[in-house]
Symmetry: C2
Subunit: 196 residues, 2 copies
DNA sequence: GCCACAAGTGTTAGTCACTAACATCTGTTG
DNA sequence: CAACAGATGTTAGTGACTAACACTTGTGGC
């Protein structure tokens, strides 16, 4: 059941994406987005706390955190995080990622939006630490999460803009292999040697 | 020779730091900072492009980039970056870091400022890639830089607020060991085993 | 000392993101 | 249909940031 609020929210996101693509993030005002969605600017701010959030909305933290937590412990934190992220690759390659790609492509052009993406990353980092860090190893896990997520963000930016037709999954595989060279040795055959 | 502009800039930074500590980043207006420094708000914006920048000013990118570039190539990108950052530890432990610590402690409390720190990190990342990436390996280097810098940022936030009396250098050593476990084996004896 | 000249700063008048308070409308439930 | 809650609108702000133009202060040549 789609509530009225959900429909409004979706219209705002869609209108914002279109307008940002046409005229650039900076040049579009919240008023204009709201008008294009047929609502007032107050309604916009009831659905999104900031202009930035209408573009950079990311509800995947719990999924990512669970994937990391599912990795066997006992191995170094950075390997657990890397393997957890790799385990999500099949999911990535089947999702309807087109609107996400458009959003990231817009963010890639505006430095202020990359700061916003970093805020997303920080939230994901916290989720991973809470879900997957053994007691007493929170710092290690936070460092490992920060490192791996930064690497994923780096390839996300490429993927969104580059003409390169590589799948997001393959790029994430490369990123994890770069961060944890040991992964390419044997553990994840599907991605071994994928890095150039 | 200290120019008038440099003096004004320093007064603005100092006044901002004091006011932010007393009343919090959000609650202090640019007008108030400017007034405390004896100038108008327009002068503030001539010295700093945004309110955020008066706190998060970071001129160390060239030093960091050079330190990474100085590492021998042929090893994985992530090891070069990690070793480059480690080579700066002696410098860290002798610098007058007190105002930096105060600034980071303020930033640690405000999510919006952590986004600003991420913008700093992105700039550092670009500087490292430009200075140290062999032709054709830019992506690998960018991923490695993003990962290591994220790890350093994570410990910086701890260092600024925690009562822990560990030196910044020791914390950075731990961070690099977490990201590149291989470093603890032999290469950098001073930090081997420093991680808990 | 005086006179360009430029760098630094001030004033004023805006735009736009974002907030608070209160009114209105719409859909649902008894 | 009445009552109620969720969703939206209106209005009136605050504060970050910009543009245009005037002014002031320090510096070098005469």
């Amino acid at each position: 059941m789609t509530t009225r609020a959900e429909a409004t929210r979706a219209r705002l996101q869609s209108a914002a994406l279109d307008l940002f693509e046409q005229r650039g993030y900076r040049a579009v005002t919240v008023e204009e987005i709201a008008a294009a969605a047929g609502v007032s600017h107050m309604t916009f701010f009831r659905h999104f706390p900031t202009k930035e959030r209408v573009l950079l909305d990311d509800p995947f933290d719990p999924v990512i955190a669970a994937a990391v937590a599912a990795q066997p412990d006992g191995t170094p934190a950075i390997e657990r995080v890397a393997r957890g992220l790799l385990s999500l690759v099949p999911l990535l390659d089947q999702e309807p990622t087109e609107s996400a790609r458009r959003a990231i492509a817009i963010a890639a052009r505006e430095p202020e939006l990359q700061a916003g993406m970093a805020a997303n990353t920080a939230a994901t980092e916290r989720a991973i630490v809470e879900a997957a860090a053994p007691a007493g190893e929170e710092t290690e896990m936070r460092i490992a999460a920060a490192a791996c997520l930064a690497a994923v963000t780096a390839v996300l930016l490429d993927w969104s803009t580059d003409g390169s037709r590589r799948t997001l999954g393959a790029l994430v595989g490369d990123a994890m292999t770069t961060v944890v060279p040991a992964l390419s040795d044997a553990a994840v055959p599907a991605y071994a040697g994928a890095a150039s």
